[in-house]
């Protein structure tokens, strides 16, 4: 591998240049993909809502006397792919309104504080395999290119940086000197603080199961045999019972952290105009917009890496299959190589799938009420994540003591106890059925309504 050797040489002679390449390889795809994501959102949303959506921009109709005969009079459709560019030009050329009674410094700082964490999030995210190349014990070129920094604290870094994301929104809300903006900012900070907890605990479960905080280690752990039993299938964490619970909690917290519908209370347009970015126009608004999409994309990547097997296309252990069935070794080996070398593509695909899921949620679910938001975060997700954490801890201890059977026994027992505990708590705190008086339909003067009217009313209700 020439590129591999060259990178290795570069790493030894000029590590700073190699680090710069790593950063560019992370940031550039996001910058390029954000317009694509906006197009995806608009098209997908319109399809889900049974509308047409932006499908015209970029469609060219050639005149009938066009020099190239095969194009003359033809219509070339691009499915509105140029719409994001038109959107960008529009945002760029719009009048840049700056309100007068604002905190100038903070006002201009806020969009950048919103953008910075979104891009910094991916620094510990592996977008391709950092392990050995298939059927060898040589680390491949990808291990030099990703992640940007393979630090011991990988997943904690993601949590820390995503918690810094609150500042952009909070400060934008404060600096605009607009009460709706301020309300949006306050909602954003309360929401982000609340959902960080569930997110942290659900990731702690994964860290506990992996025994490492490094994200490449987490992905590699998922390449082991499923449940320690099924040897040909990869143990993606979303397939394990505790991992599934963690993944659901993490996914919900993810939507809340990125302020996407149904958790877009900070910018609820029918209550707060546009929330924290009400007073931001033109490019300053575009920066917020971009930050939101970049964060959505990268956090989908984190979800993919932590729960969905990262850069592996399908949960099949090709190399193990090739070793077990030598007759099919050629095919399985080719699949293993395909899986390894096109890893970045699979990873991008999973990120895009995550974004599509976000869009689907937006098209499906109505916005939560503020109290529903808080009670979901604190009374449902956090206890669920903590219970899951206890179960994982027991599972690990019993697996190391009594092998897989002991581990699963402990898992079942702990789950049973926790479910019973929950049912008991629910029964103890349940309020009785509402004691509402039986429905009675009376006329204005208090006499009972005639039977015919009552029947009609009953049909209606």
């Amino acid at each position: 591998m020439d590129v591999g050797h060259w990178l290795e040489g570069l790493g030894q002679s000029n590590p700073v240049a190699l680090a710069a390449i790593r950063v560019v390889l992370l940031v550039l795809p996001i910058l390029v993909l954000v317009p694509g994501l906006i197009w995806l959102e608009r098209r997908l949303l319109s399809w889900m809502q049974d509308r047409i959506g932006p499908n015209r921009t970029g469609t060219v109709t050639f005149p009938s006397n066009f020099p190239l005969k095969f194009l003359a009079g033809k219509k070339v459709r691009t499915f509105g792919l140029l719409q994001p560019i038109a959107d960008g030009v529009k945002l760029f050329l719009k009048e840049d309104v700056t309100p007068s009674a604002i905190d100038k410094l903070v006002y201009f700082l806020a969009p950048f504080l919103a953008l910075f964490p979104a891009f910094a999030l991916g620094a510990t995210l592996p977008w391709a395999s950092t392990g050995f190349m298939p059927f060898t014990s040589i680390p491949g070129p990808y291990s030099l290119l990703t992640p940007v920094a393979n630090v011991e604290i990988g997943i904690l870094y993601v949590l820390a940086i995503s918690s810094l994301g609150a500042y952009g929104l909070v400060l934008a809300g404060y600096a605009s000197n607009n009460k709706y903006s301020l309300m949006g900012g306050i909602r954003a900070s309360a929401q982000l603080i609340s959902y960080e907890l569930g997110m942290g605990v659900s990731l702690a479960c994964v860290a506990l199961a992996t025994g490492s905080l490094k994200m490449p280690d987490m992905v590699m752990q998922q390449e082991a045999a499923l449940w320690g039993v099924a040897e040909h299938i990869q143990n993606w964490f979303v397939f394990t019972p505790w991992g599934l619970v963690s993944a659901i909690v993490f996914l919900i917290c993810l939507v809340a952290e990125t302020n996407r519908a149904p958790f877009d209370l900070p910018e609820a347009e029918n209550e707060l105009i546009a929330g924290y970015h009400t007073e931001y126009s033109s490019m300053k608004f575009a920066v917020f917009f971009m930050g939101e999409y970049a964060a959505m994309f990268l956090l989908s990547g984190v979800f993919a890496a932590v729960f969905l097997g990262g850069y592996n296309l399908v949960p099949v252990r090709w190399e193990h299959l090739a070793d077990t069935y030598p007759a099919m070794a050629g095919f399985y080996g080719a699949m293993a190589k395909l899986n390894y070398w096109l890893g970045p593509l699979w990873f991008l695909g999973k990120c895009a799938g995550g974004v599509a899921f976000f869009i689907w949620l937006r098209a499906t679910l109505p916005r939560l009420r503020y109290d529903q938001l808080m009670s979901l975060g604190w009374k449902t997700l956090l206890p669920l994540a903590v219970a899951n954490f206890i179960v994982v801890a027991l599972y690990i201890v019993f697996t190391s003591l009594y092998g897989p059977a002991g581990g699963w026994g402990a898992w079942g027992g702990a789950t049973l106890v926790l479910v019973l505990l929950y049912l008991n708590i629910a029964a103890a705190t349940r309020k009785g059925p509402l004691a509402s008086p039986p429905r009675r339909i009376a006329l204005v003067d208090g006499t009972e309504a005639p039977a015919s009217l009552r029947e009609r009313e009953q049909v209606k209700t």
Binding site: V106, E152, I153, L156, A160, L164, Y174, L182, G185, I193
Partner: protein
């Protein structure tokens, strides 16, 4: 000057500036809080530069990411009620001078008696790594760790009680 020294001076100087800004922006509480955020963040960066990754990231996550967001939240809720921060016009020069001298004396005493020899030794293998710190927390410092968490729990229960009584 080596590259390390330049980086330290840059980050450390900015952190010191941020700390000064906390007091200097007294008229605007949000800017004050922002300066504190800058200081906390750069302190985390300084920990990183020392190789204490876990400490650094916890500094960023807990102080810059959680506590200061709460601070800002409170400042903003207060700003909703009254736009003007209370002004302290009177200046207490004698007290300020005494305090400054005391602080300078403390810092000077540390600098004068500073023994750099422990810092020139190479650090151990697991230095600053989560595994090493976790092992200490669960063995040697298990009791202080648990006492601290009980303290936090008491704090939470206490605040809930206080809030209940007022409601």
């Amino acid at each position: 000057m080596t590259a390390n020294q330049v980086a330290f001076l840059l980050v450390g100087g900015l952190a010191a500036l941020g700390a000064t800004g906390v007091v200097a922006c007294g008229e605007k509480p949000v800017r004050s809080a922002l300066c504190l955020v800058l200081n906390f963040f750069l302190l985390g960066v300084l920990y990183f530069m020392l190789g204490a990754e876990l400490l650094g990231i916890i500094q960023v996550m807990v102080y810059a990411g959680a506590i200061m967001v709460l601070f800002l939240f409170v400042v903003m809720v207060l700003a909703l009620q009254s736009q003007e921060a209370p002004r302290h016009k009177e200046r207490r020069w004698p007290l300020a001078i005494v305090g400054a001298i005391a602080l300078a004396a403390t810092v000077a005493s540390v600098i004068v008696t500073f023994d750099p020899s422990p810092f020139s030794q190479p650090v151990g293998d697991g230095y600053g790594k989560p595994q090493a710190i976790g092992a200490y927390l669960f063995t040697e410092y298990a009791l202080p760790f648990e006492v601290a968490s009980v303290l936090l729990l008491v704090g939470i229960v206490g605040s809930v009680l206080l809030a209940r009584r007022n409601a």
